[in-house]
Amino acid sequence: MTTATEATERVGPTSKAARPHPIRDLVIKRSLIGILTLVLVSILIFAATQTLPGNAASAVLLNTATPQRLHALEVQLGLTRPAVEQYWTWLTGVLHGNFGKSLANGQPVSTLIGGRILNSLVLVVLAGAIGTLIGVGLGVLAAARRDSVFDHVLSVTSLGVTALPEFVVAVVLVIFFAAVVIHWFPAVSVFAPGTPPWSNPRELVLPVATLVIVVVPYVFRMMRASMIDALESDYVQMAQLKGVPKWRVLLFHALPNAIAPTIQVIGLTFLYLAGGVVVVEYLFNYPGLGQALVGAVSDRDIPQIQAIVLVLAAFYIAVNILTDVIALAVSPRRRLPRS
């Protein structure tokens, strides 16, 4: 969400508003809708977890629930108050960075998930960046050698890999690189306490590699398709006839025009990663938000679930806005105001 709000402030109403400015308009409009959506999301999260019949108190006590104990805990958690009042208390807390206390161990949720946000972000950004580079690179190569053996092998492989769940990819990687064939990387990510992920590079390799393998096919397929479109266009043929070297045609004539549709897919890739980290972090025991979410769902630690799901949804909404803005910024044609 920070990206969105910062962006709004940067291009705020002080800039010259005489000419139509589609990018600024889009940023403002999408940010406002994004904030509204996030408010609705927070209501949904809160309603689903705290006010439904199977509420937090009975979730914590499970089989040990007696009417007296249930009531005592409900009072302690503030569940006897009206729902709107509970939501308001929760929301004002969240806006001050206070997500409540974990029901599992009594620690503030913000301290529990604070460091994990960074760990997950490193995983998502690394996997997204590497996956994008490989996907775009392979897409350009496959399009340049269209219908070659290389192209066919890549296309068939990508169709197959597209369908693989993350945990299958991860298990295969563990077989090859951590357990059976060669012991290069740890199958479980154990960080020394308090260290950032980049000081544990060996621990990062397999989780990042798993996510990269899952996202590359999407970027590759989109890049290949839009690159083929660009290569068939008149201006590329013109450049070829002029005798421009092939690599120049590829990189400077076709690529800039082919990248715009791919931006949307790259955005979707980051969106996918927000959910994909859950399984991958759990599998490699990587200390991120996803692993915490799985643990919190098992423990029915509702304040922690609320916080993590809200953070992931905020990330989702922010990426959506950012993707639209970047896609608009890189494609001059779409920048013209719609008549």
Binding site: L52, G160, V168, I175, V215, V278
Partner: protein
């Protein structure tokens, strides 16, 4: 119902392509294993047959799992519930999504804004995270997981259906019927929906793949069928500690899940290509764009 032959025509054309045949055969094989598996399994899925992670032998053809149960029997028994859940979740999600999408497109105005705003809210959750949120309230109940996956599908389906239906609602024959005073519900049922068949067929295929991935993922995380029941996702998680001793406990379920999704994906791709030829509809996106749009699954 006059348009029913179109569904069959598109499916028939898809099946006759090499891609379509391959996809259908692969997915069909997995369904066959899952459906007749429980009947032909040599042992019960919960019976202790051999030593934990025992190698393949004449007693247990694919060896033992983490507790010494027969990997082959558990594999044969662990698919049908997964497939049934995926199928119901898909059907429910596509029906609800299509109804919402058509309503938003046809009635427009307030309905459109309300439905699309609700769609945006659900779309702000990664599918797996949304399912986990619901599971955290009531525990890993089968109906709840199916419902959660269906609800998380509906918005995407609604978006696709809405944009396709908008196109049709603008056409002259629909306008003409509105002027003639034919009730909206009847126009939708008789004229708008049949024109959406190819869009919906592709949507069903894609959603089935994602249902399978999300439900198997939940099962892997321990929020699906509860032990000692056999389920492919759960088996992979249970048996991965014994990967070196007996890899079959992980490999078999992983291969079957992968084959099913690859098969359905390939067949859907063939259907998308086949439907492009039918009636030259402008509403049909390129197959590649369809696949690419769906990374969020």
């Amino acid at each position: 119902m006059a348009r029913r032959p179109e569904v069959i025509a598109v499916l028939g054309r898809a099946v006759r392509t090499p891609r379509g045949t391959a996809g259908l055969v692969i997915a069909g094989l997995v369904v066959l294993v899952a459906v007749i598996g429980p009947a032909v399994a040599p042992y019960s899925a919960t019976e202790f047959v051999t030593a934990p992670f025992a190698r393949a032998s004449s007693v247990a053809w694919l060896g033992g799992d983490v507790l010494g149960r027969d990997v082959l029997s558990r594999t044969l028994d662990g698919g049908w519930q997964l497939l049934a859940m995926a199928a119901v979740a898909t059907a429910l999600g596509v029906v609800v999504g299509a109804v919402l999408g058509v309503m938003a497109a046809y009635y427009g105005g307030l309905w459109d804004s309300l439905i699309m705003r609700a769609v945006d809210v659900i779309l702000a959750f990664p599918q797996l995270v949304f399912a986990l949120l619901l599971v955290s309230i009531l525990g890993p109940k089968i109906w709840l997981i199916v419902l959660a996956v269906a609800i998380s599908h509906a918005p995407q389906v609604a978006r696709v259906t809405r944009s396709a239906a908008l196109d049709i609602s603008e056409r002259d024959f629909v306008k003409a019927m509105q002027i003639l005073g034919i009730p909206g519900r009847r126009i939708i049922r008789r004229d708008v929906l049949p024109n959406l068949t190819s869009v919906l067929m592709v949507e069903i295929g894609l959603r089935l793949t994602y249902s399978m991935l999300v439900i198997a993922g939940l099962s892997f995380l321990g929020f699906g069928l509860q032990p000692p029941a056999a389920s492919w996702g759960l088996m992979i998680n249970e048996n991965r500690v014994g990967l070196i001793a007996n890899p079959w406990g992980v490999l078999m379920p992983a291969i079957l899940i992968a084959l099913f999704t690859i098969g359905v994906n390939t067949f859907t791709d063939a259907v998308a290509r086949a439907s492009l030829g039918v009636g030259g509809r402008a509403t049909e996106p390129e197959p590649i764009a369809l696949v690419a749009r769906e990374v969020t699954g």
